[in-house]
């Protein structure tokens, strides 16, 4: 009885009125038929006119745009839960989660849906994106892999932690990802959806990665870097709880253990990237905390060249130029068992 709209864009808005236009431009500019798309704004009880702006958009595009306003501000995890709940009677074929200020380039939806139609096993399509700085300049990122590829998550779980450190991506999911209605995996709710690391969760299924840049995201640095890192660490701990607490070693668990160590190393390296960023702000305390955090999560990182260089730079108050490249490697070849296209 209900029409199924192919694509749902879900946008969480938290007092970001001035950024909504940009995102809407991206959606309106899609080559994919507009009648097959829907936009749901989840308004986190904004007070800056965001809600009014959304209502204006609804008036202008009544069959495209919809809104749900929370009565009191809440956390991202609960917004996501509420969105899932709100859409439980709307059969959703494909979905994309956006922040205001993120823009999807015009061909992405068509390409991603085409891919998922052709291959029923693909659960999500990820693509490279550009980063839009606060001065509106666009920075290109190097693609994570040298070729477009299809990755089996269960077989290549560690890949999401071994590659693309610090890389940002955008994704279109089949259905209302992440996870089934009632099961939001911890990582998904906390990880910035644009983190490549976040693609690891949930841990089954196949995803496609496109090297071409199909959009841009607004540069976002968390207000409380430590909270952000710690929450990701917490999510990882939950994810690997069984692996860490089981005493017997089987082949599978050896692989899980390797994946787990890769994950902790990845988050430690993310902390190092934050430390490098403090050069602009001069926040030495934060830089030191990042180093401590990195060591706490991955004891071996103290032997890494990047760590040593950062530590020296902080102590001697010298520049951290060039250290980033030691962590953020260039494009790598996809693993041999991935399908390249």
């Amino acid at each position: 009885m209900f029409k199924t709209y192919s694509v749902f864009f879900i946008v969480f808005v938290d007092n970001e009125a001035e950024l909504i236009d940009d995102t809407m431009k991206g959606i309106l500019g899609q080559t994919y038929p507009r009648s097959e798309m829907r936009v749901l704004f989840m308004d986190n009880a904004s007070k800056d006119g965001s809600y009014e702006k959304i209502l204006d958009y609804i008036q202008e595009y009544p069959s495209l745009v919809s809104v749900y306003r929370m009565d009191r501000p809440t956390k991202p995890a609960r917004l996501l839960k509420q969105a899932s709940n709100y859409l439980r009677f709307s059969p959703v074929h494909f979905s994309m989660f956006l922040h205001p200020g993120d823009r999807v380039y015009s061909g992405f939806i068509e390409k991603a849906i085409g891919l998922m139609h052709m291959n029923g096993e693909i659960e999500a399509v990820y693509s490279n994106i550009d980063i839009c700085h606060t001065d509106k300049s666009l920075e290109k990122q190097e693609a994570i892999f040298t070729d477009n590829c299809i990755i089996d998550k269960e077989v290549n779980y560690g890949l999401f932690f071994n590659t693309g450190i610090g890389a940002k991506v955008q994704a279109m999911f089949r259905g209302l990802q992440p996870g089934a209605l009632e099961r939001l995996v911890d990582m998904e709710k906390r990880i910035d959806r644009n983190d490549w690391m976040g693609a690891a969760f949930p841990s089954e299924g196949k995803i496609a990665y496109l090297t071409e840049s199909f959009g841009y995201m607004m540069e976002r640095v968390p207000d409380d870097v430590m909270f952000d890192l710690m929450t990701k660490a917490y999510s990882l701990k939950s994810q690997f709880y069984m692996t860490e607490t089981v005493a017997n070693y089987t082949e599978r668990q050896k692989k899980d253990w390797a994946d787990m160590e890769a994950a902790y190393k990845c988050i430690a390296e993310n902390a190092l990237l934050h430390a490098i960023r403090t050069e602009e702000t001069g926040d030495i305390r934060l830089a030191e905390q990042c180093l401590m955090f990195a060591e706490m999560m991955c004891l071996d990182i103290v032997q890494d060249e990047a760590y040593i260089l950062i530590k020296k730079a902080i102590e001697n108050e010298t520049s951290m130029q060039g250290i980033r490249e030691k962590i953020v490697k260039g494009s790598v070849e996809p693993p041999r068992d991935c399908f390249i296209f």
Binding site: R72, P73, T74, K75, A77, R78, K81, R183, L184, D186, K189, D224, M226, F227, M230, T231, A233, Y234, K237, S238, Y241, E244, T245, R285, Q289, M292, F293, E295, M296, L299
Partner: protein, 346 residues
């Protein structure tokens, strides 16, 4: 009390068949008459179901999960709450017979109160009781916002010590294991206090089981999960405080984190003693990470030296698992500001 609305006593159970008789009886023997008792079994592998069966003639119901779903059982048992009030009685705990009556009377009189804590003693696996100092020095009721800062540091009471008004619980977002996971009690009290008022009964209302060893606690400490979860919870409260404008909570967060850091020092010593230097190092790093000032602490410095020299065997510390450790804690704190004394009404 004129009205006697239904009170649901939900008993989540996993392999606690040896304690179920006591907990179920304590629920059935409440002086309050309108009670339903529901056991939520999380796929126990012992004879729990056989134990519960003895009570189904008295109206006790047991719902069983086909697979063990860990802490998500809390979310599932939310579905079983049909009373206007409810108690989450852990399968190994015991309620005092007049707890529900006293708590419901308070909440019937004061509709703004969303939950009531009673006091507790500990009981071990052999039935030996350790008497504890009450947390506060009097019974009182208070506005929810006043008690919020306290929950940043401690939970005051565990699940079995609380009778909760279901409508407040729903407003607070019910159980949300995906977001809360560990520290479930504390997060829950915090969220309840954001939407309702609080009352505290200084009388001992529950016996909380604290065996010599709790395997779950050991696991989370020994996989370095515990400090991360604590830090995350503290910051999570800070996030709520910012969203809803509770400056006094925001102020307390740093204090809370420093307190946790100090607690972790104890764990670090235990691991040094066990000569598990990797784990000890992580804890010591965490402590410094959480509290910069600890570098000047003598004890902390000693631990670092012991770590570097690998002299763990020389450390003097008790293993963290003993329940009898708690008997010596002195509490009886002053209630938060703007409290209203409540001796007469109980």
């Amino acid at each position: 009390m004129k009205r006697k609305p239904l009170v649901s006593i939900i008993i989540p159970n996993y392999n606690h068949s040896m304690y179920l008789d006591q907990s179920i009886n304590s629920a059935l023997n409440q002086t309050y008459s309108n009670i339903e008792v529901i056991v939520n079994d999380n796929a126990s592998s012992d004879n729990s179901i056989a134990v519960v069966k003895k009570y189904i003639d008295q109206g006790v119901v047991v719902n069983k999960n086909p697979q063990n779903i860990y802490n998500f059982n809390y979310d599932i048992l939310d579905d079983s709450v049909s009373g206007e009030y409810f108690v989450l009685l852990c399968a190994d705990d015991i309620l005092k017979s007049d707890f529900v009556e006293k708590a419901v009377r308070i909440m019937e009189e004061y509709p703004e109160i969303g939950f009531v804590h009673g006091e507790r003693d500990y009981i071990d696996e052999h039935g030996r009781i350790t008497e504890l100092d009450p947390f506060f020095n009097c019974s009182f009721r208070v506005n929810g916002e006043e008690i919020l800062p306290i929950f940043t540091l401690t939970d005051i009471g565990q699940s079995a010590q609380a009778v909760i008004r279901t409508s407040a619980f729903v407003r607070a977002g019910k159980h949300d294991t995906q977001s809360d996971h560990l520290n479930i009690d504390r997060e829950q009290w915090f969220r309840l206090a954001m939407v309702s008022d609080y009352a505290y009964i200084r009388e001992k209302m529950a016996l909380i089981r604290m065996p010599e060893t709790t395997s779950e606690t050991s696991r989370i400490i020994e996989t370095f999960y515990h400090p991360i979860a604590l830090y995350h919870t503290a910051k999570s409260f800070e996030e709520w405080a910012k969203l809803n404008d509770y400056p006094r909570v925001s102020e307390r967060i740093e204090v809370a984190i420093k307190r946790f850091a100090k607690e972790c020092l104890g764990f670090a010593k235990v691991f040094l003693k066990r000569e598990n230097y990797e784990l000890a190092k992580r804890y010591l790093l965490f402590i410094r990470f959480a509290d910069r000032g600890i570098i000047s602490d003598e004890e902390y410095q000693k631990c670092w030296t012991i770590l570097q020299e690998k002299r763990g065997a020389s450390v003097e510390v008790d293993e963290y698992k003993k329940s009898s450790n708690y008997a010596f804690r002195k509490r009886n704190y002053e209630p938060p500001e703007n409290y209203v004394l409540m001796e007469d009404t109980i």
